[in-house]
Symmetry: C2
Subunit: 604 residues, 2 copies
């Protein structure tokens, strides 16, 4: 099996990974998954008026059973002598290969559209399934450690235990004929009869035949052998922890981690390599900040001023192209010796290592652009610069109309939504029926919830009451204000919450033991954490939502979302499609919904 | 993408498959899955005292979310001139590739132990995921047909529809800028203005750019083009139905289908290519018989007299070896020209096509052995011989102690189990605790249900009441008779049944439309269907259970089950392991439980 050496390769090269992490200024990451949504239609999964909590719950429920099976890491280090960035990029194929018969037998879901899409991009599934690097989450690692410790303490303490040798009941003779038992008996009898001066161990031949080898040894030799065994066990344990060690190293470094539309990447990474995701969003935020103290989402950055006015399409591929043109200045980047060098002219999109690489390029270009706005301009902005701090720990929220990001460092934005209606209707209704219904109200925006309900945002909050009043005598449909809808939903939740309070506590206890630095206290307040940035509503931000609704005008949950291509629902990343301007304006009626932007510091 | 031509290959070679099916005497089949059990521990999944109904429910619930992704078919045809069997074997990689944006986006589960095992056998996952043959079940096929029909009737009736052209409300102008709408508008306006003499169609260029092509045509040309389009649509539909067409052809042939331990293969085949499995076992039996009117399970055959006395290990690999030795006579087999020829000396186990091939060989050897017992001996027994009829439509039941098979043609055997106890105990208990508890009763057999309960079968039914009485004042454990246990379980089920009665009806309506011959009436009676065979308890059969419990002494659900190898739970097929006789006898205390065997006809 020539291809079954993935974890051996990994072991041999792990020091290179560690070194890259050690010396890097920042990292870019990207994940490829076996699927995106294992639940309701993607339209329902990403409703335009989801609260961040709702979105988190949906993604947690419907996306975490998929496998993150390719992890791209690109480490960037600035070379001051040559004024260039030096990159080391890695493409890790990961697979939860069972370590032993007692190790967890992970089940994961594949979504045929996602698999088919990756196949069309030339993805090598044999690299995942035949030579993927194993991993353990923290609980599994703890259990394995315990198993090893137990085994060792049994071996060491066997003398004590065996001082009273096992008595064999007459009628159990047949049963104890078991090899397991015989083995135990041999071990115990030997250590009882020869508490010192003997070394017992089980060896396996190439043909998987197991032998018990007993050798006469002096105390020194016995200790040496014990030590040898211990070292070997530690190595086995490290092998089993496998790829998680890379994630731990990234986390421990405390360095900036950049991703593009990275919420799902972060959720999957924590879920797979740390612990199952916590029950509620606030706990997740604490956890995410503990694992990755500094995250930056290039999609959020590109969608925010001063970039949003000059960047039309924030999909990764389009962004990368745009940032090669004025007013941007493509950075000087070179791959380190012995590392893959990517050519952005011949795109290798959707290989995680390449996507991570160009995500890093995008970050550098945008950061440098911020520097160019200073007077005097600063040509090269580092990953530690205050200029980029406003973008820290804010993860892009796909398709949410009026909340651009999930704020990991505190409470989320709470737009008023006093111009939004919740409409219920027969399942035969189509978008055109809704446009028809609201034809008197001018521009509206529709955000489907499911087959029989949608949010409709009007251009003027004043119109809301008119619409509600007009609908009072309607039989086929029902209209309520957003506030009314939320109120009723909360009532339902309160009841449910009471019932699940105990299980919440359960989850709380299971919070992972964090190995990385933890800059975050267990409780947080909005003022304390949001810090220097102030939040203010800014109607200019509305264009962002336009762009988003264009990109996802089909029922697609796109991570790169450059796409209105008719792909089956749930496909992760999009084919590139030449579209006419006309097509782009389809769902593009201008929204007047208030949106929120963080203020640009004076220094910009 | 060199490997993305799997379905093209399939299309080109389908006639070869059809021909092989057409001319064959019988088939052997085998499936490889993405996993085996997505549920409780396998011990719990296959308890030794499951009823057939319980076993069916467990497999349905915990195994059907996996994907059957490799289907092996080997067609056997006897060449009378040369007195040899000629084989044509096929290895189909199947994958539910989405046919279009509206086609189902199938999600399936992978079990890491199963995937890892297949990987270790050199399985090529890229062949599945990159070039797997698509398929549709019957409902999906029906829906797709309907879609095509609707599209066509719309195109034909468009003139009528478009006689009243769509009015465009003023305030909807923006909305209808949609390309979809424009397209519709163009189509409708054209067919309204030019009801005849014009042909409109949408073409896609290689670059995925879509154009509407309008051409002036006379009536004859228009009809020709319509016909051309219809033919193309039918072809697309056939492509989408894909591999299901092979299964339909096998089913339609009504010929004997042989498999080894084939219950899961049959369940998966029906589930994936016909319809979701029905709610209860009797419905499943009807369905299975309708799809495959003649099934034969070589593992059941090998486990039954006259074979069971002379065959020790019924795992496929071991069986194949055994059947090369006296008193068996390996058949003369050759592969047809242009078809892969397998060499049984260099095993290629776990490639579905190879496994199907040797399953067929095993069947021939055993059938011929039956012929050799006749006087005068019959050297070559055909797939239509009455000699093999007793083995028809009885599928081997893994690890059930006293019911050797699932009887597809009628009610299942109902062993008395009056020597069986149901024991509940603390979860700390191990097998040794149970042996200890029953140490006064001589030989016992233990069949775990879950962490805190097990069936214990005693050697004498008379001991049962003694055990129950003795346990009355016990605090840590509880003992009841099997009859008591079943009675309580039935009570619970009655209540549940009331609640789900409506959903049962639902399933009934969804029964698939069978394309194959259906030899089976909707209601059956035991006497009528079991026919010439009589069922009688035969204590000699007990040895079968011994063998089974040996083979699965670890918590394994093994399809080939030659294995007590410490593999992770749920791995489908087993590595081969040299085991000492001693190891084999561990769980092998001789059972005195009554078992049932069908009588051997006089003619043998």
């Amino acid at each position: 099996m020539g291809h079954r050496d993935g974890s051996v390769d990994f072991k041999i090269n792990l020091h290179k990974v560690y070194q890259a992490i050690e010396e890097a200024d920042f990292f870019a990451i990207d994940g490829e998954f076996s699927g995106i949504s294992d639940g309701p239609s993607v339209t329902a999964l990403t409703s335009g008026f989801d609260t961040p909590e709702e979105r988190y719950q949906k993604l947690k429920k419907h996306s975490m059973d998929f496998l993150l099976f390719q992890f791209g890491l690109c480490a960037f280090k600035y070379d001051h002598t040559d004024s260039k960035h030096v990159t080391k990029s890695f493409n890790f194929y990961v697979f939860p290969k069972p370590f032993s018969r007692s190790s967890p037998d992970v089940k994961f879901v594949c979504q045929s559209s996602s698999i088919d899409f990756l196949a069309s991009q030339g993805f090598d599934f044999n690299k995942v399934f035949c030579s993927g690097i194993p991993y353990l989450n923290q609980e599994e690692e703890r259990q394995l450690r315990e198993q090893f410790d137990e085994k060792r303490s049994q071996a060491n303490g066997a003398g004590a235990l065996a001082k009273c040798p096992v008595t064999i009941p007459e009628d159990q003779k047949k049963f104890i004929d078991q090899v397991m038992f015989q083995r135990k008996l041999i071990y115990q009898t030997l250590s009882w009869k020869y508490p010192k001066g003997i070394h017992v161990e089980t060896l396996e031949t190439d043909k998987k035949e197991r032998h018990i080898v007993i050798s006469k040894v002096d105390e020194e030799e016995r200790k040496r052998r014990e030590q040898e065994k211990y070292t070997k066990e530690q190595e086995e344990l490290n092998d089993a922890v496998g790829f998680s060690r890379v994630i731990h190293a990234i986390a421990n470094s405390g360095k900036l981690v950049v991703g593009h539309n990275m919420l799902l990447d972060v959720m999957h990474t924590i879920h797979q390599f740390y612990c199952p995701l916590p029950a509620d969003l606030n706990e997740f935020k604490e956890m995410a900040i503990c694992v990755f103290p500094r995250l930056l989402d290039t999609k959020l950055m590109a969608s925010t001023q001063p970039f949003k006015d000059i960047i039309n399409n924030t999909s990764l591929a389009e962004l990368e192209k745009r940032l090669k043109e004025t007013p941007f200045d493509p950075p000087k980047v070179e791959s380190a010796e012995g590392f893959p060098s990517y050519d952005t002219a011949s795109e290798q999109l959707h290989e995680a290592g390449y996507d991570a690489y160009i995500t890093g390029l995008c970050f550098i270009s945008m950061a440098n652009y911020l520097g160019s706005l200073l007077s005097p301009p600063k040509m090269c902005v580092s990953a530690r610069s205050k200029l980029i701090e406003p973008f820290f720990n804010k993860l892009f929220l796909m398709r949410v109309m009026d909340i651009p990001y999930l704020n990991l460092e505190g409470p989320d934005l709470q737009p008023k939504r006093d111009h939004v209606l919740h409409v219920t209707f027969p399942k035969e209704w189509k978008t055109s029926d809704l446009y028809q219904l609201f034809s008197a109200f001018g521009n509206i925006q529709i955000s489907w919830i499911d087959d029989t309900s949608a949010f409709v945002s009007l251009s003027q909050p004043e119109q809301v009451q008119i619409a509600v009043n007009t609908s009072k005598y309607a039989e086929s449909y029902r209209i309520q204000t957003y506030a009314e809808y939320v109120g009723k939903k909360q009532e339902g939740k309160q009841v449910k919450r009471k019932w699940t309070e105990d299980s919440w506590k359960e989850v709380d206890r299971k919070r992972p033991h964090m190995q990385g630095p933890c800059y975050h206290s267990n409780s947080f307040t909005a003022a304390g954490v949001v810090g220097k940035r102030t939040l203010s509503p800014d109607p200019r931000e509305a264009a962002l939502e336009d762009r988003e609704s264009e990109e996802v005008s089909d029922s697609e949950l796109e991570q790169t979302d450059s796409c209105t291509d008719p792909l089956p629902e749930g496909r992760k990343k999009s084919k590139k499609l030449k579209r006419t301007k006309k097509e782009l304006s389809l769902a593009g009626s201008v929204s007047d919904s208030p949106a929120v932007l963080f203020e640009v510091p004076d220094t910009w």
